[in-house]
């Protein structure tokens, strides 16, 4: 074989990194299992159509063809397969599913980014009330705590906010669209040109601050209070305030920030969204929210749904790799197998040395810096 290189955007994982990722995934899944969620595994290969509602921005999915020439993809996301499954199997709702696995997104070549991302997450389908968001948040907090992430910032946002404010602005639709585009791209130069048209209206003071409408929960709410009354906003603000109060009660030391200037992570989001990051991370540790429109891509009937996925790679970057104590090798003669098994069972962090001679066993122990227990000595 001539080509022994990895394709761009992939990597082998072994040793401590692989161990840390496995440990993190196990801890996250244990939390979900303990809370009565059921395991769901979907295939890595799906028809490309399943992911049509997904906006991958600058990335795309790996594509191939099946025997009939239909486009297949390596799944770029784990939420849409759950929606596909629910719409085709008639599972009784409400249901709570958890999953773990890798997703694949082709990113810019030779940019140092990886195209295979390990995720673990859950979907809560069939519950429409705030309790769904709250259980998701409790799991997010528990997941970070259990995997040893400290000083995580929890960010709340809501898919309904921007749309409701834009709806209320006294300008024609194309202006609203241009304003939204500049707001989402944080293009201040263009945003300020458009919002200047409304400077003298009651929306003026709020619009001047809107691109910066993220940060400490109470500070953001003070700016929101500058808005004239918009009836559609009342439930959104009430939900956010109730959630902040809930978090204060459940996790008093948790830093909670609010961002009301961003688009929702995907088009099918219909309500609150939540993400977590640390001060020096370059990726979000988890991301989730309410997406009652999720199943609409697959069936006529809407179903309320909340879900969240942890980025296992981002979590692994945050967790210090534990220093493993030196391993112990157990050298033995073939007829001592039972004794070897017993020694293996009671010696922590040990492994059988399968060398055929004492000399070879010693050589392995020296070259790999391991301790050697020689069971043949006692014969």
């Amino acid at each position: 074989m001539k080509n022994r290189n990895l394709p761009s955007g992939t990597r082998d994982e072994f040793g401590p990194r692989a161990a840390v990722k496995e440990q993190i995934t196990a801890k996250l899944l244990a939390i979900l299992k303990q809370r009565g969620f059921e395991k769901l595994t979907t295939p890595i290969l799906e028809y490309a159509d399943v992911f049509k509602p997904l906006n991958l921005t600058n990335n795309r999915a790996y594509q191939l063809l099946d025997e009939q020439g239909e486009a297949l993809v390596l799944r770029p996301d784990l939420t849409l397969p759950v929606a596909r499954m629910l719409s085709t199997t008639g599972v009784e709702l409400p249901a709570k599913w958890y999953y773990s696995g890798d997703v694949f997104r082709v990113k810019k070549q030779l940019s140092g980014s990886y195209n295979q991302i390990s995720e673990a997450g859950f979907e809560l389908v069939g519950y429409g009330g705030l309790k769904g968001e709250w259980e998701s948040l409790m799991i997010a907090l528990a997941g970070c705590r259990e995997t040893g992430v400290t000083e995580m910032t929890l960010e709340l946002s809501d898919a309904r906010f921007v749309a409701s404010v834009l709806e209320a602005l006294p300008v024609p639709t194309p202006t609203k669209q241009a304003l939204q585009q500049a707001l989402f791209a944080k293009n201040l130069t263009t945003y300020q040109q458009i919002s200047a048209l409304l400077a003298k209206t009651p929306f003026g003071p709020f619009l001047a601050e809107w691109p910066w409408l993220f940060g400490e929960f109470d500070d953001v709410m003070k700016v929101v209070a500058k808005l004239p009354a918009i009836p559609a906003l009342t439930p959104v603000i009430d939900d956010l305030k109730a959630t902040a109060a809930f978090l204060k009660q459940q996790a008093p030391s948790q830093r909670v920030v609010l961002d009301l200037s961003i688009p929702s992570p995907q088009r099918y989001y219909t309500g609150m969204a939540f993400r977590g990051y640390t001060q020096n991370a370059s990726d979000y540790l988890f991301s989730g929210g309410r997406y009652d429109d999720l199943l609409k891509s697959f069936q006529q009937v809407k179903e309320p749904a909340v879900g969240l996925a942890f980025d296992v790679d981002a979590l692994a970057d945050k967790v210090a790799t534990p220093a493993t104590p030196p391993q112990t090798l157990i050298y033995f003669d073939a007829d001592q197998w039972q004794l070897a098994e017993a020694t293996l069972a009671r010696t922590p962090n040990s492994t059988l040395c399968l060398a055929d001679s004492r000399e070879e066993a010693e050589r392995i122990a020296v070259s790999t810096a391991k301790q050697l227990i020689d069971l043949t000595e006692s014969r």
């Binding site: 140092g112 980014s113 944080k186 130069t189 920030v257 990726d283 979000y284």
Partner: protein, 210 residues
Amino acid sequence: MPIKIALTKGRVEQQVVPLLEASGIDCSGIRSKGRRLIFDEDPVYETILVKGPDVLTYLNSGAVQLGIVGSDILDEQRNPQYAMLDLGVGRCRFVLASTSDFDPQQVSRKIIATKYPNITKRYFQSIGEDVEIIKIEGSVELAPLIGLADAIVDITETGTTLKENNLHVYAELQPVSTKLVVNRLALKQYQPQIRSLIDALQQTQGVNAQ
């Protein structure tokens, strides 16, 4: 930890350093840089000098929080980060240019030479035309003169280089200017610092505009 700025070296650097200084950033190191590439004179901002296309590579990976780069590169690379502020310098424009015998209505499939294949592709798509694009690394003006291409898509500030090569502008594409680009997550992590820098830069611009 200081906030890191990736600044495009060369012309952008010369035009932007006065703006950064007026906004209170110590750029004395960049003014007398020698061969250095990292400048930590300022207590809050650490500046690194890189090539334009690399600004986004650093920014996307999260290795730097802010970038200063021309919108030509942002458009060509389909920048996913926040281009928050037009710094008002480095203004120029993309044009379609060629020799005087070029016929924009020609029936055959045109061959266009450019340093910016994505921008060229999007432009011709927007006018419903399909062209063959040849990627050139520099001195794009040569291509129609030597017969490599029918026309070029390139940036021009004053049009002098085009005129000197007897090339005419057949269409004006999007304008170009230097932008301050912010990594999406860094904007949240360093909100107060980035906001005060942007406010200061906008104030400087306001003063310049008067």
